[in-house]
Symmetry: none
Subunit: 195 residues, 4 copies
DNA sequence: AATGAATGAGCTTTCATTCAT
DNA sequence: CATGAATGAAAGCTCATTCAT
């Protein structure tokens, strides 16, 4: 039993590494099997196919990512503090797992629509989390109610996502979470100097 | 002469469509040839290989996209108006060419690092354009000089990019450029209501 | 183990046949696979590529050819008898394997320089064998030391090679090894009647 | 008229060069056209197809080769002198045209049976020339009548052919016609020292 | 006669998946 | 459960040849 669970995790970890290094299309199942120290066929005892493996990677890893952020948010009561937590954790979590960051920012986007849809469904959980903060902010009159929450969410997620992508493309040559302060300020107060 | 130019454009347009519908990897060269009403081999008279065709699509189409936006910005002298133009044109131009939007937002990201690098080099022109507005804004004390221009750029581009991606994924069920006003407001004044 | 060895041999034999019938360039890998009763892909489990398969055919078959001749020569102590063995075996071995003869005399020469070089390296072993007989003959004063051994080798190999080629081209309508006696006499005593 | 003849010769010369450099299969018709300073299509006004071009090259160049040798032989009345002329001219003619030598010794053998047959038919003229010397020698009791003339021819041609092939493979690092003397001696008197 | 743009048939190789052991 | 040898479909690219100009 435990042995099975371990093998499942072995394959999952190997998949993250290989997808990160080679990208989805160039990642060979046999390579993942080799890195996981199992036979090629064994992978198919745990996963339906290569796509399924990718989705499982995403579910598992992003699920954990979202859980961490949710947990962090729970510790704060103030909406703005929650938002800051989100920004901070989004950046620091991905910075601490470069392989995962490469997968989420570049490689996962190299897949078929069918997959993309499933990925979006998983990502939706994260969007819901962001949305809940926004709604709370609007209820507390901290965030303007005249702005559509989806527009706000796109700004928050888009800014964070692009920030991480830039960092990944730059080959992680600078510190990511150090930008959290500036990003928070920008998101909250906007570009314009004085008003 | 003109005939060759036309054939080149035929292939390019067909490539945009096919890449949009099937994505880079599943787009068959023979499919592109068929849609362009040319023989498979003809494509190789105009493009070195499939990758080259993808890059050409990007260069041509994104080049035109950037030119349009640059032109629009030139018409404005005020930094904030320039930013608004950028937001407005980014959204309306992609809304008017859904195929291109699909390619830029989803399919172009489905390629190898080698290609990604070339694509980033082309995209850099757009980043430079955004950067120039930011710098001007900082010189005129409209945008805070304490914020790193790259962080600002990530927010602006990230917000716009994510907005378009959401719209593409939703299968274009709503109007994109109508969000321009709210996005402008968010970018300039931030999330917080009054301060 | 044994099964793998068998499959390897199956493919090798099929390759000899197909190369013999169609020549290197017109021999399709799929044809070889079909004749070997394996899938196309299986060939690539045993050989790197088509070229590699050709070289393996050559190494295996010519290697065996050379071994047989070497073995035959060992049985003789007299230089002239050794030479006779060589002539006799060269002709009778190829006569007994017409497919192989076609490959060595015609098809193997239909390949790229890179391959040709490798083939020549293998053939070199045979040349060395011939050379060793010549040197021994010269040491024993049976063969004139004033004649360059490479010139002698070219005569011996060239005569045998052309004899086999003529026979292959004639579509094997006569007995090859029956010519051995006359060839031996010619090589040893030359054309001129009495001197 | 003359212009046409010149163009024909241009193409033929270009073909020799390109076949020599790339071999039959890797020689592109467009390359030959380029080197001949004509359009691709022009070649098909003078030759039926690529094979036909190869055969024409062979006919033209080997025809000339055979004519030269025949002419040289005519100057001699003595059979042994005629044979010596043949050996000498075979080697010196090919040595003076390395491109042609590469084509005849290596590249021409890289073709389909259909071509090979035609090539053999052309080569047959050369064989007939050799045969006529042998027959004359046998009539004059200089060459033993007990030896089959085809066996003799194979020795003479095989020796010369292999000598040239060795020289081509060695990348022409030594003088070819300097071997003529030793070859003549070997052919006439054989390997054995004293008899 | 000459051109050269266009054609499209043809083939090697990869790799996700299966299944006998 | 696990293996890994075997499978075979699938597709990018080349280049001899054609034909409208």
């Amino acid at each position: 039993m435990n042995k099975q669970k371990r093998k499942y995790q072995q394959i999952l970890s190997a998949a993250v590494s290989v997808f990160a290094q080679y990208g989805y299309h160039r990642a060979q199942v046999s390579k993942i099997a080799e890195m996981a120290n199992v036979a090629d066929g064994t992978i198919y005892l745990y996963f339906k196919n290569k796509e399924d493996l990718l989705i499982a990677v995403f579910e598992e890893k992003i699920g954990h990512f979202i859980d961490c952020i949710e947990e962090g948010i729970m510790k704060e009561t103030n909406v703005l503090d929650q938002l800051y937590r989100l920004v901070d954790l989004h950046l620091s979590l991905l910075e601490s797992k470069p392989d995962l960051a490469v997968v989420t920012q570049l490689e996962l986007r190299q897949s078929k629509y069918v997959i993309q849809e499933k990925l979006n469904r998983i990502l939706q959980k994260y969007f819901n989390l962001i949305d809940s903060i926004i709604v709370k902010g609007q209820e507390e009159q901290i965030i303007s109610e005249r702005i559509d929450k989806y527009v706000v969410r796109n700004m928050i997620f888009g800014t964070l996502d692009q920030t991480v992508t830039s960092w990944v493309i730059s080959e992680q040559t600078y510190s990511l979470h150090e930008q959290a302060g500036q990003i928070k300020q920008l998101l909250l107060q906007g570009l314009v100097n004085y008003r």
